[in-house]
Each structure stands twice: as C-alpha cells, then as structure tokens.
C-alpha cells in the first residue's frame, strides 16, 4: 500500500486539444473519478490554472526573485494531479493508463515517500557521515 501521485504533463499542443474538447473530457474525468472512489483508491484530484498566469519564485541569487509566467523553457507543464492510495506501483500505472487524456499529453507516476524514508542518496550520505565520525 502506498500513495502515488499521477501528474498530468501537457504540451502547448495537447493543452489546446484539451481546451477544444473540454466538456467531453470533463465528463469522462468525472466518471473516471467515480470509478476511483468506488474502487476505494481515490485520495484527491486537482487541476491547475493556466501556467501563463503563474509566477516563479527563483532562489538562485541571494534573495528570491519573482518572475511572471511558466517555469523556464519547460516543454511539458504540470497541469494537475490525481492522488491515489493503491496496493502497488503497477496498480498506479494501470489507473494512469485509464486517465481520460488527449494525444500528446503525458502522465508521470510518482510514489509519495513515507515520513520515515529519506530520498535515495541522502540515506547513503548519512550512513557515510556516521562512519567517518566513527573513525575520527
């Protein structure tokens, strides 16, 4: 059992296609969410407003710099997500395949890490740190 985030990534072309057939896609999405609820795996789903209306807070300098519009030169923009509580990664993938989508869009499937887990690499670094402390 684990939570997975199904992240919707659209391109300019797929977003335009989405807007063209919006009503039909919305109806399919509601039906899809109902399936998720009845399967007992639904946690949350939300769609984001147009990236052009967003801002980016950039920490590259000494103080945060705020710029309008989408993030950098990204070709695929994060447009929304489904959060599912499923038994396996394969199940998350199977549900991702069923998301009502338009041609050209992509779904990224990512597991939500537990609070007792460190991201890969950090755990190893932490282990190495304690080892060197032990030697010194």
């Amino acid at each position: 059992m684990a939570k997975y985030m199904l992240i919707m990534r659209g391109t300019d072309a797929s977003n335009a296609a989405l807007m063209a057939g919006f009503e039909e896609l919305a109806a399919q999405t509601y039906a899809y969410i109902e399936d998720l609820v009845k399967a007992g795996v639904f946690v949350a789903a939300e769609g984001l407003d147009d990236a052009a209306r967003g801002v980016v807070v950039d920490f590259s300098g000494e103080t945060p710099v705020v710029t309008d519009g989408p993030y950098g030169e990204t070709k695929e923009l994060f447009g929304g997500y489904f959060m599912l509580d499923v038994a396996s990664k394969q199940e998350a993938v199977e549900w991702a395949k069923r998301i009502p989508s338009v041609t050209g869009s992509k779904i990224e499937v990512r597991r939500v890490a537990g609070d007792d887990e460190l991201p890969e690499g950090i755990a190893a670094a932490a282990g190495a740190g304690s080892e060197s402390n032990g030697r010194s």
Partner: protein
C-alpha cells in the same frame, strides 16, 4: 507484462467481473471459478503478448470460461441456448446495475451461513481481488488452508441456495452489519496482529480500508458504513508512529504525533461527519473516540472526559468487556487510577475476559500508578505469559522488570 501487472489489473477488475458473471449465470461458484481461470490464463499469456485492452480481455475470457462450464453441464442445456442467443450480455455492463451487483457480491461473501474465516477469505478474494497466496501471507496461514476455506464457502453458498441479490429491506440493516464486521475483522487483524512477530500488518489493514471506502461509495446513506471507514482511517493514521525503528510497539502516550498521517486524519474526520447524520452507532462512537485522540496535540491535552462519555455510550449500544476495559483506561486518565481500578476489579470478579492479557496489563498499570509495585509486577508478568504477540510481550516484561 509481468505477474505484478496482471495482478494490478485483476485487483481493479475482479469484483466487476465476478459480479457481472454471477448476474449472467446465476451461479456464484461457477462465476468465481471462471474468473479465476481467466486470470490464470492471463498470467501465462500476457507476459508473452500484452492485450490492447487488458480489462476487456479478462472479462471476455472469463465469460467464455463460464459458457464452457455451463456447456459441460448438460442439465443446464436450456440456459446454454439462452446464452448463445444473447452473446453481448456481459460486454455491456450497465453502470447502475454493476454497483448493485458489487454490493450483492459483498453481501454474498459475508453471508451468515459462512464461517468467519470463510467470510474473510471470500471477501478478500472476490471483492478485493487478492490471490489465495496473498490472503495466506496476510493471515499467516498456509495457502491450501485459504483455498480450502474458499472452496468450502462456495459449496456452502450453493448448498444453502443463497441467492445473488441485495437482501430484502427488512434484513438489509442486519446483513450490512455482517459485512461491516467482516471488514472490521480484517482491519483489526492488520492493526493489532493477534500472532506473529510483528505488531502491525499495514497491508491487511489497507485492504479493509479500501473495501470500506468501496462500501461507503455504494451505500452513502448508511451512517455506520461511514463510521467504520472513519474508525479505520483514524486508527491507521497513527500507524507511522505506532512502532519504533526495531518494530517494537510505541504506546499512544509516547508516540511522536507529528508522524501521524494528517491526510488520513482529514479523511477520517470527514467520514465521521457523514457517520453523525442520524446519531452515532457503535462504529461511529469508536471513530469519535479515535477522533478525540487524533485531534489532541498530546496525552495531557486530550479531552479524556469526552472519551469517558463516548465509552459509556458505546458500552450501552454495544456492551462488551473490552469496551469496559477501555473505559477504565479513559477513567484513569480523566479521574485517576483508583476509580479505574474499581471497574477492572469488577471485570475480573465477573470473569468477563478470561485468558486475555489485556486485563492484567491494565490492572498492572493501574496498580503501578497507585504505588503497589510488587502486585503490579506480578500482574504484568501474568499479562506477558498470556500475550501471543512477541513485540507486545517484550514490552510487558520490560515494564515488569522496571518495577524492581
């Protein structure tokens, strides 16, 4: 596609397929066998060649196997003619009907003619889509035991002539209670493993929560369904803090509450609101108690008076010695160990929980708080002897030893 991919599709589709096939054939055991044959075929053929539509493939294959089985039964020749005449019946699933059919599947799997073990195994298999191997792993029993339980359960349903339908209005509430108790048995097996060397089996608890969510979606007007769901979500919210790094249990008082799953708490509280629509039933009351813990930042800040009142109410609608014992613990927190000990002594005098390690555990704690060290130690040692969970036992022995 790998075995895990097949299992994933099966998890999503199994209830719909078995429900639709049972409706189609009128024979639950035959439908379940046909569905199992289809998934067995998928495990062989999908790794070689993945179907374009895995869900449709499973349904079509299961349906063909069901027809094969009916053809083999010459006694059902008339029905076979009927099937041949209407080959698209199962492909077109009516979305309104399938919900009722999945509900009927839950009722048949939790039918009172079945033993408790059979209800648990059948529910996990046909509604949850778990394999016999997965169920065996979850309940720490051999695979053939699970298979035998399921085979026997299907024979019992056939022998008793249990119909595949929603229970009539007059029996509906009681039968729904039967379904809820099966889901709760599955949940408690995962949340307080009765045997073995681990305190929690979260995967088992997860299955119960998932099934409770399905039931809540299909029976949205039944407060106790939401009550059970709320209870499971709020209890599971504490799982991340309930065991230490070595797997040993961490008591509520010592848990790092920052580790509680806030998202699960929110889901639980939302379900509790729905459960409260017409006054709380036994599951709703237990959920309200869990909510009182979930909403408190520490043991000291917990509204113990409210918890005592909720246990009193629970003791009236669903009297049980375990509820009395928990009430004693709450009374100890609200008003001190002396009145709590009186409740425990009465339980012992009436021998209401014979052989349970919980009574001497609580009595030992209360005696320790009253400064009666040697008596407390003897009680905790008794509790350790009666306890079947290794992790809990070692905690009890540590506590007894600490009393000197």
């Amino acid at each position: 596609m790998t075995t895990a991919d097949v299992e994933a599709v099966w998890r999503i589709e199994s209830a719909r397929i078995v429900a639709a096939l049972t409706r189609f054939t009128g024979d639950f055991a035959l439908a379940e066998d046909a569905a199992q044959e289809a998934v067995a075929e998928a495990l062989v053929s999908w790794p070689v060649e993945s179907p374009a539509n895995p869900a449709g493939w499973l349904m079509a294959t299961a349906r063909r196997r069901a027809i094969d089985a009916i053809r083999r039964r010459t006694a059902l020749r008339d029905r076979h003619v009927l099937l041949a005449a209407d080959p698209v019946l199962v492909e077109d699933i009516d979305p309104d009907r399938i919900d009722d059919d999945i509900l009927a599947l839950m009722f048949i799997s939790c039918h009172p003619v079945l033993s408790r073990e059979a209800r648990v195994a059948l529910t996990l298999r046909v509604v949850g889509g778990l394999s016999s191997e997965q169920i065996a792993r979850a309940f720490l029993v051999p695979v053939p035991t699970v298979q035998a339980r399921i085979t026997r359960a299907k024979k019992t349903i056939a022998a008793a002539g249990v119909p595949f339908e929603l229970p009539p209005a007059g029996e509906r509430r009681e039968r729904l209670g039967g379904v809820l108790s099966v889901l709760y048995v599955i949940f408690t097996e995962g949340s307080t493993a009765t045997s073995g060397d681990r305190l929690l089996r979260p995967d088992v608890a997860y299955e119960a929560i998932r099934l409770a969510r399905t039931l809540a979606a299909l029976q949205p007007d039944e407060p106790e369904v939401h009550g059970l769901l709320a209870l499971c979500e709020l209890t599971a919210a504490r799982f991340p803090a309930r065991t230490g790094p070595d797997g040993s249990p961490v008591l509520l008082a010592d848990q790092d509450r920052r580790r509680w799953d806030l998202s699960a708490i929110h889901r639980g509280l939302a379900a509790l609101v729905k459960a409260s629509a017409r006054g709380l039933g036994p599951y709703g009351l237990q959920a309200a108690i869990a909510a009182a813990h979930a909403s408190a930042r520490s043991v000291q800040e917990t509204d113990w008076d409210r918890i005592v009142v909720l246990y009193e109410a629970l003791g009236r609608v669903a009297p049980s010695p375990v509820v009395e014992l928990n009430r004693a613990v709450a009374v100890a927190m609200a008003s001190g160990p002396a009145p709590a000990l009186a409740i425990v002594e009465e339980l012992i005098a009436l021998d209401r929980l014979p052989g349970s390690h919980l009574v001497p555990t609580v009595r030992g704690e209360l005696l320790a708080r009253l400064g009666r060290g040697p008596e407390a130690r003897a009680e905790l040692e008794l509790a350790a002897r009666l306890c079947t969970n290794e992790r809990e036992r070692s905690v009890l022995l540590r506590k007894a030893a600490a009393l000197g």
